[in-house]
Amino acid sequence: MYRFKLMKNKQQYGRVNRRGFLGQASCSAIGSTSLLSSLINLRLTGSLAGADTDDGEDYKALVCVFLAGGNDSFNMLTPVDASQGYPEYLAARGDVALPQTDFTPIGDTLPSPDGRTLGLNVEMPELKALFDSGKASFINNVGTLVEPVTKLGIQNQSANLPLGLYSHSDQQLHWQSGLPTNRSPLNGWGARLADLLDDLNGESQVSMNVSLAGTNIFQSGGSSSVLSRGASNIPEIRQWNRWVYRHKRTAQESILDAQYQNAFERSFATSKKNAIAASAEYRAALESQDPIITEFNTSNTLAIQLKAVAETISARGPLSKRRQTFFVELGGWDHHNGLDDHPAMLGQVSEAVGQFYQAMVDLELEDQVTLFTASDFGRTLTPNGNGTDHAWGGNQFVVGGCVDGGKFFGDYPSLDLGNDLDTGRGRFIPTTSVDEYIADLALWMGVSATNVRDLVLPNLSNFHDVVESGAPLGFMKMDG
């Protein structure tokens, strides 16, 4: 009870002294059945959770490609039939509509009674090739939800909505945490995943969670730390290995090796030592591998990040890894002021993803690595002039040898303005929740259905009974 009051009132939090905080923190770790306590104790339950976890020999990795700002995904994938779908698109999108010839039809028509044919933006030939070869699929109209909502519920203000709907930072948090009713989530679903799966990895100072795009909530907050590196460089203390600075290094090491009575000092020294050791181990692991033979476009910032991911994956052996998560990001998708560069950005994503998949093929790991996209939100169907504004549901895609490719999952919405999903200006209520999207990926990584429901995605039960019915969408081949 007292811990709950402490967390609820931020002003109280600031006035608690250190002794009080430590006492309360320890109390909070014992006995509480709240989600917060469950998350803090994931590591303690790791051995139990590990017993439920797939103990296959295979390596598996998830690569999150976050399109920061809100991708205008209805100009990525759109209906292209002249008789149905495209006229609605044209009417709704006005000045930001693309010609029909800017899309190339892909896949089968949507199931009856829909019957529309979807087209992929022509700037994404690599993604089209992956789709056509059964290595990529689209998940349509995905977005953050607390529970299923209706337009009427929104209009009469009875709907339970994700906090900060239509705002960048909150929606990014919700996508990465899977906790849409939490203003300050303590951890991401990737971190919770890692806490359950890290026992499958061997001893290593290097985290199973690697970020090429700095701090992110997706991988943060769990027992496993995050190795954050630049796309072109490996983190290290400058001059650490230079002979001329050996005395400084010796002094630093003696400071870090000292015995500290103070818990915070001890913890800081330990984490600093671990970071230095991790950096050295990581560098050594990468240098022990042959260079990646796949060509990546070094002027493509996303491709550079994915190349670093590929290099890290190639070093999974020396790093003793059987499970890893990666986070890369491409910003600039907040197209309020115009969509002129949007096709080129789609092309950038397509090229990078295509090169990354080829790298996985070259490493003979294409069936063991799955790449998925995420973004703050979709964008308004109607323009604001030259650009589009924040919306809700949008289209994502997944790539990998274990993807049940060449298909569309979820429901592609009607683009008729004012329909039952349209909350205004073509801001569509998602028909697939982020939780359902992520659940398929978590199950594929080897987390049991029970743990997906109880520990990784606590909101999932509002949409789908994963224990009874398995994967919500089924876009991953589970025997892969």
């Binding site: 203000q157 906090l163 705002s167 650009g387 924040h390 909350t423």
Partner: protein, 164 residues
């Protein structure tokens, strides 16, 4: 007898003073009478207009400018967020929705902005003093960037006036 008289006098005095001050809200602050509430805040008798505020005093006034207008708007939104703590839980995608919320379409039926204003159009929302819609850029659940299109009338150009 004297005490009785004093009590009666005090009661009469209190009655007179209360009539001068007008009806009070439960919180003790003075609000306008019912007829003024209806006029200022809309047709619903349930909507309670919270009285003069930076928006009503400054927005669009001849002695102001766009920047000051947006600052006044920002101030009332912050005030709204302080009274309606779960502001970020509502469906407020943009201009018309946020303005209607401030006009009393909220669970507390509190209004900061009058129903009728020369720079509010029901289908568009709030305009700047150049007649262009103000853009509410949701940065987070509670943090909003307020944008005027500026003199060129086009958003997201160099002459935009932006307030956070």
């Amino acid at each position: 007898m004297r005490k009785f008289g004093a009590v009666v006098l005090l009661l009469i005095l209190g009655f007179i003073l209360s009539r001068i001050g007008g009806p009070t809200s439960e919180g003790g602050g003075v609000i306008k009478g019912p007829e003024t509430v209806a006029r200022s805040a809309g047709e619903s008798e349930q909507v309670r207009f919270l009285g003069e505020n930076p928006f009503t005093l400054e927005y669009g006034k001849s002695n102001g400018d766009i920047k000051r207008d947006l600052e006044a708007l920002r101030d009332v939104v912050i005030d709204c967020q302080s009274l309606i703590k779960n502001f970020d839980a509502f469906h407020l995608p943009g201009n018309p929705e946020i303005i209607r919320f401030l006009q009393g379409e909220n669970p507390e039926n509190l209004a900061w902005i009058p129903a009728e204003h020369s720079l509010i159009k029901s289908d568009i929302g709030l305009l700047d003093r150049n007649g262009n819609a103000v853009f509410f850029h949701r940065l987070s659940g509670l943090q909003i960037e307020y944008r005027s299109a500026g003199a060129d009338g086009k958003h997201w150009t160099d002459d935009d006036v932006v307030v956070r």
